[in-house]
Assembly symmetry: D2
Homo-oligomer: 337 residues x 4
């Protein structure tokens, strides 16, 4: 940590600051420049996260040297983590395909959708039973009934299932039915929920918040990891920007960036990432070319009748075509589907 | 609702769309222009929120005419809502001052802080017992012990207390001790939590999310209102932008904007809104000049020792000076403190 | 155009508005809904761009139906435009590679760089003679001397050259030496400059502004097109968002989006788009997989000595490796380098 | 400047970096921590702005200690700068009011508008002769004819005039007629234009770019100052964010922030800052309460007929009411109109 002092700091104030740093068993290292004096703090600066150094009247600014996350960092583990979901590994040579409708809307419809995405080549099945909707008047999901349908589809089609959990009170219930928890973008900083899924040992698909920096995203992963669950898969799904032509701005640079910073796998959601079905195939190809470990895509047998997110759902035939395109890209970078 | 069709739409596709609209008891109204055909949909378009019109192949775009919120709208209630907290009304002529430390850190310290903000002129006391922290390694709050201290302070100083609730499982507990719930920015779209506080009749201070549009914010208020609790106070606390010189960008234009759109009161949080204590007094004055119904400000007897947010906490003496400045502004616009 | 009226509009105000619309030879089409009355305006609404309909007291909001650009639109020209630069066509089956150092820093260094990127497979040479620098104390470019070096390199290596023009006063000068103008991100809305390059018939590489929507970007292209120059190539180079881990957020979804909206070719600049050399190869692969018509990449024989943007420049050896990777992706989608 | 090295840096690489630093007559100061080694660079680090330290393979990141601007900084001049425009001083006790229509649309209309804003209490007259318009099909201003009308209005009403300059080729012309240059938001980083107005000694109203950080804004001021013109007034006019309910997000925290960082005066433009006339009075009051040195507001005798920006123009009667409100706020903070 580097502390930059204001010009003309009184030696009394400097002494008080120095003694505070030493209280935490850290070593201050003072350099006097022509315009500013700075203090380099030697030791694990993370112990100072609870101290408000900027509130000392002599401090101009504080600059972090170390990353605030530990377990999520490549410094902690330099080899890629493989997360096992059913019989698949996310983070290895195979690019994992997750697909299905936004919501579980009923048994017949869901089993039909599951059959279709299976045939198109998807590995893992998705579908929401608890839905976070902007409007209280929109469809809120089927709840436990939806979970049961998910579990039935898993058994019939031999595909692991991933579904969103919204509420700490539902963690146990969802854990009973699903093979992987999904933490949605709006809950990326629902820290109580992160702690609860961190206490299980089930894989977690952690979506990036609309407004979350990559550092905050990794800090949210750290909540899960530090509670004992090492099976975290990151999922970029678009961030909010000023652009209105797309629903969100899909930040594909997170793929190589996460590979630089962390050992955790990362997959891409081009459905929410663009919000426009016409853009999804191109962004799916781009994601795989960038090195993503998987894709999660919304597919619905009849998007116009979907109870949520129909605007961004692909038809099974469109998805099937996308899978073939993506497979060629995977081969070009020496991976496989 | 206006539906813009793609050029060269087939009449078969148009018929299918029209029949869908009629299925929802709405009346389609077709206008053929030179370059585009549009359909005006007459009736309460909100019933179509569950339909994905953009997934019809002939649809270019869909434009909403009505606002998606109802109960939060001035169309529903044209007179300002007054929210009663203890003996105070938020939304009336008096500008309500909420103050206190970020977290309840211990009994002695908190009672000392409460005494100081009371003397400086604050009406309502704030302090966090459950803290949403970016890092799992930061202080997470005292929990129920903190709530007890809050309640004790209320009784001693005769000030109503407001505190954050993070988890659906804690709603009942917090309800027992506090006079007002706070829903933090990161939970603005924690819809299960909104529903739970909506089922109580206790006032709710609903902070705007860091990247929430004003419309989404009012939709979150709608979750609380539609569950039966009409006592919602909105709180602007800064949004996330590209600017790095301040922690957030305080969007004061929300004050006159909310007054245009809604009957709910709005207060301003210049502490989180700027993240820099030097900027707080100016922004507090500006907020009141813009017409805010109150201010919530972090005050700590010793910011350098604060376990959270010390960088943006005022000293009691600084707060006392701010109250005097703000009082002059309130008078200039014919309000009072 | 759709005009939404405020509730309880007086018929006098409505009449005034209607007569205004008719003054412009447009046909108003009134629909009275339960909550709102709307007016559909039939005809080329673009004539109303100079009228402030929202300033009529009875107007709640105005919604555009037609796109504000014409010549840049696919409605105007449905086949892809091929832009010829030297012997190359941008917008066809071949993915065009532009490379070179950020600035022309001197004759020897530049010729060396040119040779290296040529050998690595680049088609077009880039290098700045006039540099827009945030700081007045930074290197501002060699000016005409730099242009001469560029022209010499073109002749030696038989590569067309592209270079930035910053000032209307330099358009003629740059036109004399370069094969393609570059309009930088900071000048995307320097409308006088757009008009000047629009009056030449030389190809223009139009970078997207840091803060420009896709619609504004196409409107800037429209300035060039409407002045008579149809040789515009769009270049996405990252937008500004809240994320700090990358210099900009590269918005690759513009590739399929521009292909939906316009006939103009689009290339990607992963150097500025990420600002981090480690991320460039992955984003270059992703860009080509998404369907980009080309790449522009900064390459410097010795980045540590570069007078500008060294942090994001690749070594020639790194660039050569990137070209090979990108070639495989191009083949996978049936294109070539 | 602080340079953070990667873990496991080779001593050969470290030596190379150190010798580079010494080449620039700076003194490196090495601190070895447990996880990272850092180098503190003593001396005026601004000489390193032309060196790409991050391109050294052993460098993880570089952190600036000193601000990149000098002449704009309070370190350079600690007392507030007063900028004289006509007989007024911007930056003193008086809050300066600039008003007028967006564009000069004709002699009669402009003189009428000038008379009205003068009567309402404005000090300085504004009006655009050269207009930067998003669309090439919109009204582009009257050019020199507009400047002549401006000058006539100045003489008749004894009010100094401010008008925008867009192009380096027009600086001399505008200088002949106007009392103050305006550099618009889209030209904040048109560095050639900044240099040209920097070579005059006429006051410059420098608007903040829509996506410019405060630091970049001060760097643009530095361009003007370092060319010899010290008469710079900053103008905040809203930044671009994700929010769509307002045209821009007016960042009022820049008022106290600029007062912390710089000696230059700052005024606020609530017209562009909100884009909605109903919000302007509240934001004007807020700006003055925050400590702004002035306001620039668009006023038009007939907004519905305005050729540009009618949606955000006030009627003279609305402006007159605003001036009275703002005067009360000014008095409450011991300033005057």
């Amino acid at each position: 940590m580097i502390i930059v002092l204001k010009p003309k700091t009184k030696s009394k104030d400097l002494k008080h600051l120095i003694s505070k740093i030493k209280e935490y068993k850290l070593i201050p290292h003072i350099s006097k420049g022509k315009e500013r004096t700075i203090i380099g703090v030697i030791g694990d600066e993370r112990v100072l996260q609870t101290v408000s150094l900027e509130s000392f009247s002599c401090v101009e600014k504080v600059m972090q040297i170390l990353k605030p996350y530990k377990l999520a960092s490549k410094d902690f583990k330099s080899t890629p983590t493989l997360v096992k979901v059913g019989d698949y590994f996310i983070g290895g040579k195979q690019v994992i395909l997750i697909a299905g409708p936004c919501s579980v809307e009923g048994r017949e419809k869901f089993l039909k959708a599951a059959k279709m995405v299976k045939e198109a080549g998807a590995h893992i099945l998705r579908g929401g039973a608890f839905k976070p909707r902007t409007s209280p008047y929109s469809f809120q999901g089927l709840g436990e009934e939806g979970l049961k349908i998910l579990a039935e589809a898993r058994d019939i089609f031999n595909m692991p299932v991933v579904t969103e959990v919204l509420d700490t009170r539902h963690v146990e219930l969802v854990n009973r039915y699903a093979d992987m928890f999904q933490i949605g973008a709006r809950n990326m900083q629902n820290f109580e929920l992160l702690k609860e899924v961190g206490k299980t040992n089930k894989p977690v698909l952690l979506k990036r918040g609309l407004m979350a920096t990559v550092e905050e995203w990794l800090m949210s992963a750290e909540y899960i990891l530090s509670n004992g669950n090492m099976n975290v898969v990151l999922c970029e799904r678009g961030i909010r920007t000023f652009e209105k032509a797309t629903r969100n701005t899909l930040d594909l640079s997170t793929v190589p960036l996460i590979k630089e910073l962390s050992h955790l796998p990362i997959i891409i959601d081009p459905s929410h990432g663009t919000g426009k079905k016409k853009l999804i195939p191109a962004m799916a190809r781009a994601a795989v070319a960038a090195g993503a470990d998987g894709l999660t895509i919304e597919v619905h047998p009849n998007p116009a009748e979907a109870l949520s997110d129909g605007d961004q759902s692909l038809l099974p035939s469109e998805y099937s075509k996308l899978v073939k395109e993506v497979e060629k890209i995977a081969k070009a970078i020496d991976r496989k589907i």
